[in-house]
């Protein structure tokens, strides 16, 4: 095979060819961890497609063979009425470009296969939902590339094809073409990613988080990305597929709830996280799905922790003798030190966490909850206000201006609300999906809990935490992990004089 590489332990190609995601999946297979069977179409095929406007010679024949291999591995048939094979088609460039390129899920659900899967699972509602998701993601993949220069060359009429192989070819083209969407181009410009490298495409047998009550999906960090503490951290969504989080149709639960609801999955996940940490010698992050009580890993990413969390992880890993002290020092840049000095919420036991979103603008703010912009503007005369909205519109601008901090239950770190929070320099938390804003009842709800307007909360625009009460802020003055790391730095530089943290680190780096 020239263009296609199976996701098996034997595959030995570089991340430049397999893409970061594909390379990580091969690593997981080598560790003996559960990865849905699949194959990677290399970035060189993407480059050929973008250059010539069509799939390269020989790829089609390889695609047929690769699908046959997948059929053999799963005991299923692509597009068949009996035990149909259903696949996901995802992008995966050498350098991660999250959300910039197309993904097609549940591909292969032709009319016949849909009927077959419904009969097999005895759950027609689940299969109809899967089919709908396929049609939606397939259409979106094409829409995104419509205004693009590649549009003229993409296969036409495929959106309506009811042939599984035709669907697959079309989806591969759509993912390749999505490399050149203006948004992806802009992303590369801003992040110094070469325009000519192209993306790999990963085709895998689908695992369904919406299959039954013992299914679901989530993300897990091997350690807490806010503190670096050695506790698994993340979100889980029971009975749903991952895209439901993005669309805001479902609410995630803290990862730890998996322990009680699916102890076997939880046990397997903890073991996998441990195994992955040992391999990468770093904290890591995985995306996972469990289907009918069975765990599958869909992506792995080592590292990525920042600030205080990165410092703690580096020091702890050295203590655990997974890395040496020099490696620990090498992993911490002056930027991590600067980040570590961002004001954070005072930590401690017994914090009454109302909800957790994503940090949109760093900083800590405390104030009384207001649930409309008008009330925020009025209440601000009597002291600090935290404006809590589902999302923001220009009609909320006067409330945003009056508020000390901003929370939204929807939207992400690049929503209008997040942009406005940063423009105004106000601590902001977005995507706090557990919260519902009830304007009529003048309150905020989190599950069973009802918090009235006027209640004092503290928000942390770094970690995304929303905590009841006024907690005050803590800038790190005494941080034992930081102090130990800097002691190691002084040992290496041989300079123990009093000077700023950054100078101590830089002096050590110069000698590493």
């Amino acid at each position: 095979m020239n263009w296609i590489h199976p996701l098996t332990p034997e595959t030995d190609e570089s991340p430049a060819l397999l893409g970061g995601k594909g390379h990580g999946l091969v690593a997981l297979r080598r560790l003996g961890l559960p990865v849905p069977p699949g194959f990677v179409i290399g970035t060189h095929a993407c480059r050929a497609y973008l250059r010539d406007g069509r799939l390269p010679e020989g790829l089609d024949a390889e695609l047929v063979i690769a699908v046959q291999g997948l059929e053999a591995a799963t005991g299923r048939r692509f597009g068949a009425a009996q035990r149909p094979l259903v696949v996901s088609v995802r992008s995966g460039a050498a350098v991660s470009m999250p959300g910039m390129m197309s993904t097609v899920l549940n591909l292969g659900l032709t009319t016949e296969a849909t009927g077959g899967l419904a009969a097999e699972t005895g759950n027609p509602a689940f299969v109809q939902e899967a089919r709908q998701r396929f049609l939606t993601s397939f259409a979106a993949a094409f829409r995104e590339t419509t205004d693009d220069a590649q549009a003229a060359t993409r296969p036409s009429g495929m959106a309506a094809s009811d042939d599984a192989m035709d669907q697959l070819r079309a989806a591969v083209c759509a993912v390749f073409a999505s490399w050149h969407t203006p948004r992806a181009t802009t992303y590369r410009e801003l992040h110094d990613i070469p325009h000519e490298s192209g993306t790999a495409v990963i085709v895998q047998a689908m695992v369904f988080g919406n299959r039954d009550e013992h299914s679901g999906t989530g993300v897990a960090f091997s350690r807490d990305p806010n503190t670096g503490e050695k506790t698994p951290f993340g979100d889980v969504l029971f009975g749903r597929q991952g895209e439901d989080v993005v669309s805001g149709r479902s609410t995630t639960r803290p990862l730890s709830e998996l322990a009680g609801r699916e102890p076997a999955v939880w046990g397997d996940l903890l073991a996998a996280l441990h195994r992955i940490e040992q391999h990468y010698r770093d904290a890591c992050h995985v995306e996972f799905t469990f289907e009918a009580g069975c765990l599958w890993l869909l992506q792995v990413r080592p590292g990525g922790f920042t600030g205080r969390a990165a410092i703690r992880v580096a020091v702890d890993l050295a203590d655990e003798q997974l890395i040496d002290r020099r490696t620990a020092l090498r992993r911490i840049s002056p930027q991590h030190l600067r980040n570590a000095h961002t004001p954070r919420m005072r930590a401690g036991d017994g914090l009454d966490v109302l909800a957790r979103g994503r940090g949109a603008c760093p900083g800590v703010a405390a104030g009384r909850i207001a649930v409309t912009a008008d009330r925020a503007a009025r209440m601000a005369a009597d002291g600090p206000v935290i404006l809590v909205r589902p999302y923001t519109s220009p009609l909320d601008m006067h409330g945003l201006a009056a508020a000390t901090g901003i929370v939204t239950s929807r939207g992400g770190p690049t929503s209008h609300a997040a942009v406005v929070a940063r423009a105004m320099g106000k601590p902001g938390v977005v995507d706090a999906t557990a919260l519902t804003v009830d304007v009529a009842a003048e309150c905020v709800r989190a599950g069973e809990r009802v918090v009235a307007e006027g209640t004092v909360v503290t928000i942390d625009g770094t970690s995304g935490e929303i905590v009841i009460g006024n907690l005050g802020t803590a800038t790190v003055t005494v941080d034992s992990h930081l102090n130990r790391l800097l002691d190691w730095a002084d040992e290496i530089s041989g300079n123990r004089s009093q000077r700023p943290d950054q100078e101590r680190l830089i002096a050590a780096h110069a000698r590493l």
Partner: protein, 203 residues
């Protein structure tokens, strides 16, 4: 219809939220005196109010919001522009995530794998972000042209977006994302206008 003369000021308020006279006039594309006269008529009709406070200004009442929706829907049906506006909205929504990426890149940047606030000390980086704004604006211009062809009141957005970008290119970099007249704020209002015009709830 209770005289549609002051519809421009009413709808401007619907899209920009509480604002001082100068901003209402700018959004509506009216001389200030004319905008003020419209606002006073609207206030007499109970459709807008003026709140004198630090975060106040002119704002819509609930009745004003209902009346604006009625007039906007009427305009859309009378002109037969619904399909054209809906098609332009689709194109706008392709550009919207890219614009928000750019605004985020203006405030935040990844250095050594750490997302840090952009302290604007690296002029080359800022120039790169500005260049991408200009590139996106060229594509936005086509969407604005479609909208203006469908409903003339949308013409104002092209003028305001181009003016914000001009100011930024002349060195007033806060006109990209940070000021109340910035490219992002005008874009945000255009987004609101499209949702209001088509009667789509914000997601």
């Amino acid at each position: 219809m209770t005289g549609s003369d002051e519809s421009l000021a009413l709808h401007a308020l619907r899209c920009i939220g509480f604002a001082e006279l100068s901003r209402v006039a700018d959004a509506a594309g009216l001389p200030e005196a004319e905008a003020e006269s419209q606002l006073i008529d609207l206030a007499v009709a109970g459709l807008v109010t003026r709140t004198p406070s630090e975060f106040g200004g002119w704002g819509l009442t609930e009745a004003g919001r209902v009346e604006d929706a009625r007039r906007i829907t009427g305009e859309l049906d009378a002109t037969g522009a619904r399909d054209a506006v809906a098609a332009a909205y689709e194109k706008f929504m392709v550009l919207n995530p890219e614009l928000l990426d750019l605004c985020s890149a203006w405030h935040l940047r990844t250095v050594d794998g750490v997302v840090a606030s952009n302290d604007h000390s690296d002029r080359a980086y800022d120039a790169r972000v500005l260049e991408r704004f200009v590139d996106l604006d060229q594509r936005a211009e086509a969407v604005c042209a479609d909208l203006a062809a469908a409903l003339p009141r949308f013409r104002r957005y092209r003028t305001r977006l181009a003016a914000a970008l001009d100011r930024a290119q002349s060195g007033a970099l806060e006109e990209l994302v940070d000021s109340t007249t910035s490219y992002h704020i005008v874009w945000f209002q255009l987004h609101e206008d499209l949702l209001a015009t088509l009667g789509i709830p914000r997601q």
